[in-house]
């Protein structure tokens, strides 16, 4: 008999050994966790955001803990695409896993240049398009909060590169399925959801915000019920494979997303709590399949009984 249970899944053209990825911004460019995780055992790595120009990021403090959650305001600090291609990608390429590069920009043209450059880099399996950034051309409107902006961005990217495009949706919207549908129509290969929820915390003794940037993005177990709900809603409306994320700490949490309709999951904040958690989740999924006597992981996708 073959290697059962079979954990393989596909996100369109991207074939994964197993459905467990690490989420953008929480695993660096793959080097920092080398003592704890063999990336070859993961479905893949989603890198920290890459932008066209280097970005210094936001003033500290950049983190604040909240109940079962974490606020961050890193502000997309990264060395820019040139340095990424020269210094980070060579290392990433050597890892025996799928490499998904998260890209971000403030203008449509930035995204397009980025996609073109990265498309030529080689060794990249897909781009994850972070559309949660404020659009400087549209006076701070977030690409990801308007279906028309999201559509035109993804459509443009489709022309700029052959790499599979995974569009990463923001939860800070009235109806996430609208944006999801726009991305689907524009040619996205898969969708990632959710990015962080905008939040804020205050130190009542100093009467100052706990973050240097005042507001930040909320991640961690606190947001899981919201993320699972959004995955379910999106699963019911679009035909694209989904990468579910938001507060996954264990295989059980990952399974909530899978049953809700995700094809794969990404582990974010949990990496800070336990650097080896992603591998433990792969193993936990395997055990669950065995216990449930299910041979093929993909049979679980969307298998919620209502």
């Amino acid at each position: 008999m073959e290697n059962l249970p079979d954990l393989r899944v596909s996100l369109g053209r991207i074939h994964l050994r197993n459905p467990v990825l690490v989420a953008s911004g929480t695993f660096g460019y793959g080097e920092e966790y080398k003592d704890f995780v063999d990336p070859g055992e993961l479905g893949g790595i989603i890198t920290k955001a890459v932008t066209l120009k280097p970005r210094k990021g936001n003033p500290p403090p950049r983190l604040a803990e909240t109940p079962a959650g974490l606020l961050n305001s890193i502000g997309l600090e990264n060395p820019g695409v040139e340095v990424f291609l020269k210094e980070k990608l060579p290392h990433l390429k050597r890892l025996k896993t799928r490499i998904i590069v998260n890209i971000a920009g403030e203008k449509k043209t930035e995204y397009l240049y980025l996609a073109e450059k990265l498309g030529k880099g080689g060794g990249i399996d897909a781009l994850e398009v972070n559309i949660s950034c404020p659009n400087v051309e549209k006076r701070g409107l977030i690409f990801g909060t308007r279906a028309d902006l999201a559509f035109s961005l993804v459509k443009g990217l489709k022309q700029a590169t052959d790499l599979p495009l995974i569009v990463k949706l923001t939860p800070n919207v009235t109806d996430i399925t609208e944006i999801a549908q726009a991305a689907e129509e524009a040619g996205a290969e898969a969708l990632s959801l959710i990015n962080t929820i905008l939040g804020m915390a205050i130190d009542v003794n100093t009467r100052r915000p706990k973050l240097g940037a005042i507001t930040g993005g909320l991640s961690g177990p606190a947001i899981r019920p919201v993320a699972v709900r959004m995955v379910r809603q999106t699963f019911q409306k679009v035909n694209l494979p989904l990468i579910g994320m938001g507060g996954i700490m264990s295989a059980e949490d990952a399974l909530e997303f899978i049953l809700a309709g995700a094809t794969a999951v990404a582990v974010g904040t949990a990496n800070f709590v336990d650097p080896a958690v992603s591998l433990k989740i792969v193993e936990g999924l395997r055990q669950y399949l065995r216990k449930m006597r299910i041979n093929y992981f993909h049979h679980l996708i969307g298998d919620l009984r209502t």
């Binding site: 911004g25 929480t26 695993f27 660096g28 920092e32 966790y33 003592d35 704890f36 920290k48 210094k56 990021g57 003033p59 500290p60 403090p61 950049r62 983190l63 604040a64 803990e65 109940p67 079962a68 959650g69 974490l70 961050n72 890193i74 600090e77 130190d203 003794n205 100093t206 240097g212 961690g220 177990p221 700490m249 904040t269 990496n271 800070f272 709590v273 336990d274 650097p275 080896a276």
Partner: protein, 272 residues
Amino acid sequence: MEGTGSMYQVKATVLFNEKAGKAHYRMKLEVSQIAKDARPGQFVHIRCSSGDDPLLRRPFSIHKCAQGRIDILYQVVGRGTAILSKKRRGDQLDLLGPLGKGFEIDSAFSKIFIISGGMGVAPLYMVAQEITRLGQGKEVTVLLGAKNKELILDKDDLESLGLRVMIATEDGSEGYQGLVSDLFERLISSQTSLSLAVYSCGPVSMLKKIAELSSHQGFFCQVSLEQRMGCGLGACLGCVIRGTSGYLRVCKEGPVFDAQEILWDDPGLEIK
């Protein structure tokens, strides 16, 4: 650079966890892999709860290290440290370490000041120990500052290393009355700085004062800094402070920095 070796995730067994002052505790942990490699100034990242309250790990300097064991010296300030303080002999804790870049201890310096404010002594004991080990006729002075004499920690331990220990208390209940940085300023006022090295940890205001003296007088000065941490491994970019060359990760470029690398006026240095 000190401490670029391997990092480990281990289940450490608590050997003891005892009060060392009003809200201060010493905890000894059996943790051979980490102890083997630990350098003065490095830290461990401890998971205080197996659940999600609190969610994140907490960083603590490695206070002592010998025979497969490390000590941490800590103060209860919030939920994480409160939970730690309830641990008993035999309990297990999930630790990452040794993390970060430690102090550069160079035998070239003949005159050394180790300056602690409050809890700052935590990473400095191992510095003192290491310098003593390097031995040969150095002039080493340890300055311990605190609000009052009850808050002076480790005086005896440091003295039994054979070092000169001087105390400064803000209320004058022991030693010099005033700030430890002022005491330090008096002591070095008339001295040449070339062969002088200073290792320090404590409140930002104190470190800033010492850093200014170091930049005026040109002596070698390293400080251990704090910032809220996520991963502790350099991946999340969450723990930065502002340096002269841009943002620096406390968990990776630090926690020990050359005083001259830091922009001391940045409000982001104050955590609370």
